[in-house]
Amino acid sequence: MIRVYYLKTQRVNNTDIVNGNEYIHGAILDDEGTLRKLIQDTTDNEHAGLIKVAEKWRDATEDEVQQLEAMKAHFPYEPPRNLAQEINELKAKISALEVKAEVEKI
C-alpha cells in the first residue's frame, strides 16, 4: 500500500541517514520543511518498521500515487539482487528457527 512517511535525518559518522533507511527502496524521498518525505509502496513489515521511526505518516494522495508511478517510469531498471544480503537474512532466519527448536526441545 502506498503511504507517506515524514522522517528525521540523523548524522552518524559524518553521514546523514534518514530514519528507517533500511526499509526504503523503490521510493521517492523528498523533503518538506525540516523533514524528509517518503512516498513508498510499503509491505506490512516495512510499514511496521517505518511507523516506529516516522514523525507522522498517512495514506498517499492520488497525486502522490501518480508521482510514484511516474518515478518508476523514469527508472525502468530492475534493481539488482543483493545476494549477500539475502544469504545473511536467510542465515538469520535459520538461526532463529534453530534457537526456537532448541527452546521447544528443552
Binding site: N21, A27, E78, P79
Partner: protein, 363 residues
C-alpha cells in the same frame, strides 16, 4: 543712342567746284581730311551744311543738307575753304543726351568703366523687377520673383537669425535659428519631450534620461545585467541514498546566496527564484565506492525533471548535470539522485565542491 556727328582732327579742305544756294551735293579737293562715316557738318563761308553720304569727290560728291543750325543757304565759289568745326549744334547734341540720361526712369543704362554715381545722385533711378523688366514696376523685395534674398535682421542677443523659406511659403523671410526658450533642465528619469517652437532647432526639448542613481547590476531586473542573481550551495556531510529511490539531495551550506534563494534548514533542497529570468543551473556529486547498476543525477524544476544524467556505475563515479530554464518568481530547482547499487550508497561530501548545486540568472 543719338546719331552722333563725326569728327576728324584738322578737318579742312577747299571746294572742288562752286555750288549754288540750292545744290545738294558738293566735292572737296581732299576728302581724306574728313570722316568716312556720317553725318558730319562742314562750315563754308557763313553756311553750315551736314554731309550725310558720298565720297566727297567730283565723281562721287557728298550728299548735303543745306542751312544747318540756323544758317542761310548761299552760293559758294570754287576753291573756298571748307572746315570741320565744333559747332554750337554739336555741343547742344551732347547736352541734350546728358539731359535725357539724367531724367530717364525706364530702360537699362550702362555705366561702363569708371565711377558709379552714388545712390543719392540717382534717386530718380530704381531697380526694375527682373521678372518683367521695362514694365515700369519697381522691384518688390517682398516677393521672390526678382531672385534676390532679403537681408536678415539682427536677432536678440545670443540668438541667430537666418533668411529662409519653408514648405508652403512663397517668399524668403527672417527666421530664428533657435527657439528663444532656454533649454530645459534635464533631470534623471526624464522622458523624451519635443520642443515647443517650430524653428530650425529647438532648444527646449528633452532627452530621455536614466533614473538616478543609475542602478547597480544587482538592482536590474531585465536585460543581461543581472549575473549576480544567483546561489551556490553544498552539503557538509555524506548523504545515504536508499537503493532504487529517487532521493532529493539536501544542501545545508551556502557559498553565496545573492537573492535570498536558499534556506540552510527549511526545504534546504530548493533553490527558489526571487527574480524572474533565464537561469543556468548546475549540479555535481560524487558517489561512494560501488560498481553495481546505474547512477543518475536529475535536475528538477517545480518538481518536474528537466535534465537527466545517467551512467553505468563504477567506484567513486561523479555525476554532473546542467540545465537552462526560464523562470518565474517562486519557481524552484531541486536535485535528486538515484542508484541501483542494491543497498544504500553514499553521496560523498568533499568540502565546498561536492555535492554542489548552483543557479545563476543570465538574462
Amino acid at each position: 543712342m543719338p546719331d552722333w556727328l563725326k569728327f576728324t582732327n584738322r578737318g579742312q579742305s577747299t571746294l572742288d567746284g562752286g555750288i549754288d544756294d540750292d545744290d545738294i551735293t558738293l566735292a572737296v579737293a581732299d576728302p581724306s581730311k574728313f570722316p568716312i562715316t556720317f553725318p558730319f557738318r562742314l562750315t563754308i563761308d557763313n553756311e553750315i551744311v551736314e554731309v550725310t553720304d558720298g565720297g566727297g569727290t567730283a565723281i562721287d560728291p557728298y550728299d548735303i543738307t543745306r542751312g544747318e543750325e540756323g544758317t542761310t543757304p548761299a552760293a559758294h565759289l570754287d576753291k573756298v575753304v571748307v572746315r570741320l568745326n565744333i559747332t554750337a549744334g554739336v555741343v547742344e547734341q551732347v547736352q541734350d543726351e546728358l539731359d535725357t540720361h539724367g531724367t530717364a526712369t525706364t530702360g537699362v543704362h550702362g555705366v561702363g568703366v569708371g565711377t558709379v554715381a552714388k545712390t543719392a545722385d540717382i534717386t530718380a533711378t530704381k531697380l526694375d523687377d527682373f521678372a518683367a523688366p521695362d514694365d515700369n514696376t519697381d522691384l518688390d523685395a517682398s516677393t521672390s520673383k526678382h531672385g534676390l534674398v532679403v537681408k536678415a535682421t539682427a536677432p536678440a542677443a545670443g540668438l541667430y537669425n537666418y533668411v529662409g523659406i519653408t514648405n508652403g511659403e512663397t517668399a524668403y523671410t527672417n527666421k530664428a535659428l533657435f527657439d528663444a526658450t532656454n533649454p530645459s533642465t534635464q533631470a534623471f528619469g526624464d522622458s523624451a519631450a519635443p520642443g515647443s517652437a517650430a524653428v530650425s532647432a529647438r532648444r527646449d526639448h528633452k532627452h530621455a534620461m536614466m533614473a538616478d542613481p543609475v542602478p547597480t547590476h544587482s538592482a536590474l531586473t531585465t536585460g543581461v545585467h543581472a549575473f549576480n542573481k544567483g546561489v551556490k550551495v553544498w552539503h557538509n556531510a555524506a548523504q545515504s541514498i536508499p537503493n532504487n529511490t529517487a532521493t532529493i539531495l539536501s544542501f545545508n551550506q551556502e557559498d553565496f546566496d545573492l537573492d535570498d534563494m536558499h534556506d540552510n534548514t527549511t526545504n534546504n533542497s530548493r533553490l527558489t527564484i526571487k527574480t524572474a529570468g533565464l537561469y543556468m543551473v548546475l549540479a555535481s556529486i560524487q558517489w561512494d565506492s560501488g560498481s553495481t547498476g546505474y547512477r543518475e543525477l536529475f535536475i528538477l524544476h517545480n518538481g518536474n525533471v528537466i535534465s537527466k544524467y545517467s551512467i553505468a556505475a563504477h567506484d567513486y563515479i561523479g555525476n554532473i548535470n546542467f540545465a537552462l530554464k526560464s523562470c518565474s518568481v517562486n519557481d524552484y530547482f531541486q536535485v535528486h539522485v538515484w542508484h541501483t547499487q542494491g543497498a544504500s550508497l553514499n553521496v560523498l561530501s568533499e568540502g565546498s565542491h561536492n555535492p554542489m548545486f548552483c543557479a545563476v540568472r543570465i538574462a
